[in-house]
């Protein structure tokens, strides 16, 4: 019996540790982040039929809608939608196998692939619909597997997956900083999507440190939006609608 486990209760105000800000005003919807994510995180491609049927494995997708009718029609700014790493995530408590849990060290929603038995309750309960399920064992013909990132587990059939905020990069950077006996600095590393974004619309960093770039951006913009905040999910991604 381990009585020393601290019980953490997240309050309404508490922010997470890692966060992201996305400036929709400059997001061009170019899909570079989507491609970067797929390359970094060993995402499977699923082919035309499955992709069209809503089974694509994208961890990040760019949403866009239309406003008005021709000729006054406008495309709404691209809205990159990925796991919002909720502070109080609806996906977590419903997993019967503890496959998706809250990391107290990193304040992220973890998906432990090997623990997943595939009930898909988490995905069902995710208000952002950002979880993807391995509906099949999607084939990567040889030699495509050569590009697999050894830092990221290759998922197989029947397992849920989602954006991890590139936790492998977090660990790598933390490990590097530790080996050099220093603290991790802001901007030392970033997620694959933020790294690729040609418009620099995505910024990643510590939202619990007031001096970090993300915190500064949130303060400066002043009108950031968190999606479906009204559900009390405490998301870690802030969107600037701009315009």
């Amino acid at each position: 019996m381990n009585s020393k486990i601290p019980e953490i209760k997240l309050s309404e105000e508490q922010t997470g540790k890692w966060g992201m800000v996305i400036d929709q005003d400059i997001c061009t919807g170019c899909q570079a982040c989507v491609a970067a994510c797929a390359m970094e995180n060993n995402l499977s491609f699923v082919g035309e039929v499955d992709a069209g049927y809503g089974r694509s494995m994208h961890w990040i997708r760019i949403e866009r809608f239309w406003e008005g009718e021709y000729p006054e029609v406008k495309m709404t700014p691209g809205q990159p939608m990925m796991c919002q790493q909720c502070g109080s995530a609806p996906c977590e408590p419903v997993c019967p196998a503890f496959a998706t849990v809250h990391s107290q060290a990193e304040q992220l929603n973890l998906q432990v692939y090997n623990r997943c038995v595939g009930t898909r309750y988490c995905a069902n309960n995710c208000p952002y619909q950002v979880r993807s399920f391995n509906w099949r064992d999607y084939v990567r013909p040889e030699p495509l597997p050569n590009q697999l990132n050894p830092d990221v587990t290759v998922r197989r059939m029947g397992v849920m997956e989602k954006c991890t905020f590139c936790i492998q990069r977090i660990h790598k950077a933390e490990d590097k900083a530790k080996s050099e006996g220093r603290e991790l600095t802001d901007g030392e590393f970033t997620t694959a999507c933020a790294q690729a974004c040609p418009a620099n619309a995505i910024t990643f960093g510590r939202i619990d440190q007031p001096e970090s770039l993300v915190s500064q951006l949130i303060r400066k913009h002043g009108h950031g939006v968190k999606h479906l905040e009204e559900l009390g999910t405490l998301p870690s991604v802030t969107y600037f609608k701009g315009g």
């Binding site: 381990n2 060290a105 990193e106 973890l110 660990h171």
Partner: protein, 184 residues
């Protein structure tokens, strides 16, 4: 016909026979599964004991352990660096595979001994930096010829050590016992 067979099976001798058949089938199945879990033999009967006995440090051949996630298998050039100066290399039957591999330029097909599953992200560096010695996990290499792992690397075993390492430090425990520390 069937009825006679059925009747025969119902008497004690028949029941014993059924039992024996079931037991045999089950044992064979279990053995079959057991066989699939066995790794094959090493290409070279590498005697860790001898090498450690010469005073060679673990990190001499596996320097990756201090630097990064993987300890690594030494390159064949490294093996040859010493062995080409040793006369026995040319004669010993046990060393023939090494000689052959180096001369023909074919890689040696080592069979990994210490492995964690693919969904576990293990980093040697952090463990070495935390003061773990190689033998804490891999056993005392002075005692073995062909390396074999003294324990199964399962999650309970990992966590046991992580908990001890954390001691009373709550923040450290949170970090060391976080699912996301190893699984992503």
């Amino acid at each position: 016909m069937f009825k006679r067979l059925f009747d025969w099976l119902r008497q004690p001798l028949g029941l014993i026979a059924v039992g024996i058949v079931l037991l045999t089938v089950f044992s064979l199945a279990a053995y079959g599964i057991f066989l699939t879990q066995q790794s094959s033999a090493q290409p070279i009967q590498f005697p860790h004991r001898t090498h450690v006995g010469f005073g060679i440090q673990c990190l001499y051949c596996h320097p990756g352990a201090a630097r990064g996630p993987s300890a690594g298998i030494p390159s064949q050039a490294k093996c040859w660096g010493c062995h080409q100066q040793i006369a026995k290399t040319q004669t010993s039957a046990l060393l023939a595979p090494l000689k052959q591999a180096v001369e023909s330029g074919t890689p040696i097909q080592w069979v990994p001994v210490a492995m964690v599953p693919d969904f576990v992200q293990f980093n040697h560096r952090a463990h070495v930096a935390a003061g773990q010695n190689c033998e804490d996990c891999h056993g005392d290499m002075t005692l073995v010829t062909i390396a074999e792992n003294p324990q199964v690397f399962n999650m309970g075993w990992c966590l046991d050590c992580h908990r001890k390492a954390a001691g009373e430090d709550e923040a450290k425990l949170l970090k060391l016992a976080d699912c996301g520390t190893c699984h992503y």
